[in-house]
Symmetry: D4
Subunit: 252 residues, 8 copies
């Protein structure tokens, strides 16, 4: 069974109406809080608590561990989201779970059968350069799986600011904007000066020299003089997409 609110409410009704014995219900529910598989405790309760199942961060885990955890998530929930995945992991999972898909640019493996509440507004994802696209794509895939309309506006960095200004209409249409930028990361401040909507800034590690692997863009975004801008970790496209979805569905 899956551990969504609906499924659990139905189960309890079935017990009440004696369609299912309390013993059998207990067996189904006993894994609810989490499932202990030795090296991991898969958090089934998270879907209830957070509205979205546990997300699988791949680095530092063996292929066996990833396969096992993915299997448990897939059987308990209709949504698998595995980030920083590789082609090798994808092929291993694909063999067992043919329904998984792989977004190579975003390095995300995912599968989705369940209907999810739809976000209210448009999430616009802007990148400063072409090299920032993979991180932006991770944000886009995440937000889409979570039920949001997403639009990408890549390569509108401030060295040619007319590219951004000519899209003012689109900027105004967006309900939430994710700004993905490496190098000096100034795009978030500029967008923040133009629009009214909340902005989630994602520094990327694109750059060299005194960029210090994204540190420069991170500091820029944290120190922004434009109000209405918040920041996630360097290259954390997933985090930005997730947060954007949260606020897009805050009053759904």
């Amino acid at each position: 069974m899956t551990y969504s609110s609906t499924a659990i409410k139905k189960l309890l009704k079935d017990v009440a109406s004696a369609k299912i014995s309390s013993n059998k219900a207990f067996v189904l529910l006993k894994d609810l809080p989490y499932q202990d598989i030795g090296f991991a405790r898969v958090d089934h309760h998270r879907q209830l608590r957070k509205g979205f199942p546990e997300v699988l961060y791949c680095p530092g885990k063996t292929l066996e561990q990833i396969t096992d955890i993915a299997g448990i998530i897939i059987s308990a929930s209709s949504i698998l989201l595995a980030t920083r995945a590789t082609q090798e992991i994808y092929l291993a999972l694909k063999k067992i779970y043919p329904q998984v898909k792989f977004d190579k640019t975003a390095r995300v493996i995912f599968t989705q059968r369940k209907k999810i509440a739809v976000g209210r507004g448009l999430i616009l994802i802007i990148t400063a350069g072409t090299s920032d696209i993979p991180v932006a794509q991770e944000a886009a895939v995440t937000a889409r799986i979570m039920g949001n309309r997403v639009k990408m506006l890549p390569d509108v960095g401030i060295s040619g600011i007319h590219r951004l200004l000519s899209e003012r209409k689109l900027l105004r249409r967006a309900k939430i904007i994710i700004v993905v930028a490496g190098m000096e990361g100034a795009l978030a401040s500029v967008v923040g000066g133009l629009v009214k909507c909340p902005i989630v800034a994602v520094p990327t590690s694109i750059g060299y020299g005194a960029n210090f692997e994204g540190m420069a863009a991170l500091l820029t975004m944290l120190n922004t003089c434009s109000p209405g801008v918040v920041v996630v970790n360097i290259d954390n496209g997933f985090g930005a997409g997730y947060f954007a979805s949260l606020i897009n569905k805050l009053f759904v």
Copy 2:
């Protein structure tokens, strides 16, 4: 005149209906984009563009400059918000603009006559310790001035986690949570593991030694393993309150 949308629409109607000459309207509108007072260009257009007038950050400005800028903001808009203010600045402003108020803990000077759209949900501001209250208060004052219901839950740091867990009902009631924490800043991750709603984390500079003036808490919050958490600059209570208000009124 004030530069709110309503005021400007009314002015244009008055021109259309010949209640006011176009010449007079021009004089009233010519400062709209910004007002140049030599050392500053007060951005009157911001209220239209961002929905909130320019905010006055006090440090690094002379008392004269602050008085002048505050005066211009007050006459153009019904909302003054001056952050990182001192008692001395307050007294100087009070003499000229008796309507200004001072929240000493938050170090914020403000004045408000205008009605503002009301945020939909409750914004809950949590602090890890008593020493984090000034930053939390800056967030609270900001969010309240912007038209939101705000509740403070101070001193629920994780060294005594039952203080937090016993407030689960309140946590669940909140639509947005601002977590203000110094030292190791771990509270944001813990709250992020408990609730569904978006969390804005504010690292504070409270701590000593390897805290490095808030760096430790900042890094903790950026690296959080709980999804749904975003970060603003160290001690930036204003930024958190502003952002929380934005998302609370996103679909108003």
Copy 3:
């Protein structure tokens, strides 16, 4: 001969009772303080002084150097512990010393024939995530070789804190807890708020972006607001296991 206290006392008795000539005893004892093999001075005295023989840290040493040092430690003591070892080192040692074992996850080569005093309480090793297991396993192997009962509780990170809270009984049973965590490393503070026993925190280099190779978790742990928490170097599972054993046997 081995250089344990017991062996040396026996040797001295044998001299006293003329079972062995003083000349022969001298030859046996002359390497006691340390054995000079050119590129290394193996510290045989350490077993007497510290209660545990020298531990072999592999990186930066050639295979020949490792084989030589390991050989000397094995012949003088019944306990070899070689950390950060590779499969290649293991195979080379195995050929000469068939008794060596390899814990691949912990990257530790070890061999143990001697009885060792038993630690009094349970050492519990907790990890925040699955990716932290290798460092935790290094701590576990070390503590077990030193004569302690060890239990692992992996993947109870604070993004799903109920996984931790549901193990309160186990937490209370432990006499010493080792907390192994990467990302923001907040688990140590949370555990520190729940239990009475001493906690040894091990930051790991798991994470990305502003994690700075474990720096974020290290700072978090050093700045913990929970009393009773101490810290070792990033990824230093060995150091944590060793220290936990020391305090577990402090009054044996």
Copy 4:
């Protein structure tokens, strides 16, 4: 009433034997988990959970807040420990609570009426230089209040290592050693090479130039090549004394 285990057990017995009404007992117990005084939630449960009441860290709190929190701690528990205190705070507290004492060197205010379990072994506190004494004294006061025998051995830094070596007997007598050192902080490693017992290393901010406010000593201690050494935050004498007490009473 105080919230020690003994006091609570007695209360429950009195309810059982009808010496006290359950209503009255409820009033006494309702503040057990914590007491909410607006700006703080004093954690009365901590004494039960951690074996020691909440400790009051003074910086960043107003005099009023400190007085209020101290009053609550004093009335609920027999032990007040306020760290990083000033003469001014002391005088303010002294007026209301004449029983408080002030250790000026350690910057600690404390009061103690209750008997506490006695630690089993001697805690030895070593400093590298005379300037490290205040931090060492904070550790000493903390450990003594918690019921331990403490001995100080100041100014035995390694620029004159015979001062340390001549105290080998004392080093061997100690069950736990706290090493307090600034500058390059190398003393912890040297002591760690000499003794068998656990060592808690406290880096201090004494030094200049490339010391970076204690960073140099902190890194030295974290990277120690001597096993059996753990580290607390820079200048955190309290943390070291607290942890030393914990392990000294681990099997009491």
Copy 5:
């Protein structure tokens, strides 16, 4: 005598035409390379070599040393420029050299009698905020003393980018632009995307938290994606003004 090219050429002609004895000329010239006054070697040759006399950086020097060095510069050259000066230094110098002037905002003491070659184009100095004006003013005073036309355009930071865009005509008229910005320092990149002329970026230490005393703005400017931008040290208004003058007079 002054040590300008003109003065020296005249002296040599006078020797050639026997208007002055070679002995007397020698006495006048012997201090040319530099004048040793014990604690300083005032570099008279600099005016010839660099086209501008030595500039006096005040911090770290005693009032006596400043007075002595200023006196020597004034008597040898017609141009004194003393940076990071205080009111106290100014008053001390004013007593002896009534011709000195003090720009309090720029913290610069200066005096100028000599005609200097005039720079060809307009140097425009832009600031992001009002708090950046002192550093901008240091640049302005420096460039003006060196013979350039300078215009200030303060408070056009990117949180209200229309303030900048509405000055495009002025931006295009400038031959060199100095951008002075604290906080996240993104203004330099934006200006760099709009204009063709060379830009000298000056990060300021205005900001807080993760600004790290100007580090954030410095990194932003070094990592700019707009070509044609170079950087000087944090708060180094003098350096920017000096460099701007150099390039403005490169082909004079």
Copy 6:
């Protein structure tokens, strides 16, 4: 068509004189601001605005993206400049655009058919060591493509300062000097003390240990005591060459 000023002016004349229909002209001009190719917005307007077309920074882009962008730049402008390129990229481009050339040392791919205004003075590029040559060469290629006379003076580092001093004549002849130096980067300050002309300093990542990937040289150059020195990012030879060209053509 190309988007140079000349080409556009000619087009407009042709429309005026009816040589070309306004419809056809519109089609030709509609891509002027930028050309949207999905993953990139190639900024054709840059040649008008900045006097030089968009430069292609290769890292982080796929081979397909690079080929596409390069194609668009080549067809719209006569100047392609692709930095940090590899042999592989070169071969891929060469197949399609046989006119491209590759400077292997500078890692720059370029092609140039159009005449460009000639810089007025000599740009001299100095390196401290042989290992700094690749970065210097990137500066040289850039400046040459932009129409400047460039001379290289490699390996005149200050450990043998006579190598530099013996070239004083050449130093004086130069109108702009680019100093490229790794290790401690002191060469820029020394040259800055010798010459009158503007100096652009480029720190390189050559060095080891406390060099921290060019950080040491960068800090040296930012803190220079010689006026007239500005700095670009570590290893940013392109930026230095570009800026040198700007100032060399400032009054052309």
Copy 7:
């Protein structure tokens, strides 16, 4: 008695020749290794071991502690050297020990009655600027007290390198050179390229912005491309003077 080699040898001879009883000699000698005065262990043995008595570093010590330690050093040795001292400390010491002198610039209190072996060559101390003189003076006082001829050559920084080059004769005469420099600290490398003798480089904290309190100069000096240069801590004039004396007397 003093604890110099000569004094101790004489004492032993007196015992041998029965001029003094062994009991009395014991009393005189029992403090030899060090003298325990509670908060400090004054290392009398240092004079024998290191050839120079313990040096008193003042910061972090109370006036009482300084007076006590100074008294013990003075009575046991003829040489007191107290660094980072203040006028207040000097006046307190002067009252009790009228022989103490104070070098205000160097912030050193000292007293010297004993003859000391004379260093063989000239120690030359060079400073980059006037603001570096206090640190240089600390080195000079130290080296002079230790028996060396010292010459100061201040303010020969590389922004006017002819000031340095014109002193080549002096540079060549020196047997050891101490280079004291703040800002970018490049002087050490330049001197290192000119001379054959060993150079001790002292970075100072003079500078601003990206100087980071001397970090820039420190990194420069550590990364020097000139062989024959070693480095001491930022502002550590004492350490440089001490080391220079050591090598100047190495073969005395």
Copy 8:
């Protein structure tokens, strides 16, 4: 010809005595200051100025460049010293210059035909661990080639301090000590407390976690409380050996 003092003096005598024409002598001497080979200026004058020819640092140079520079150094001087060399470079050089030798551990290629003045005392090189040997060996090879007696004492780190203390006689015999240590680098301070002679400390990059590639050991050594210790860059064995040789031959 070689460019040693002796060779040049002989040449000049030959000219004086007409054994060689002045024209021929000029040809021989014209390359004296340095030899320009395009990408490098080999500094032949260095042997006269510094007493040792230019040393070839290999990283960042192509094989061709290394071969060319090495060839010029070999033909002009009898001493080649190439550091950070690889087996590949060695084989390439060996083919052309069969006299070159390679110390694989030290990564140094060298060749030596010329007699060099002999250093007066013994240089002792101590390492903390076996992994520090390569850096120590670079120091040893350098010092030996420069004409010094060198002894190695590896693996006497302070975790077993008796290994060091048992070598006190050797420590006292040394005239200069080089201490090579990674991890926490505390060995330099300990040795500095024991001996009278000058100590050159070399931090190595051996370590992990908060070691930050040698930063920890570097800071330890810079902050040493033992006088008489100076520091070179991380892993800079060459610099230490060179400096030790300088002071060992200071009064030769």
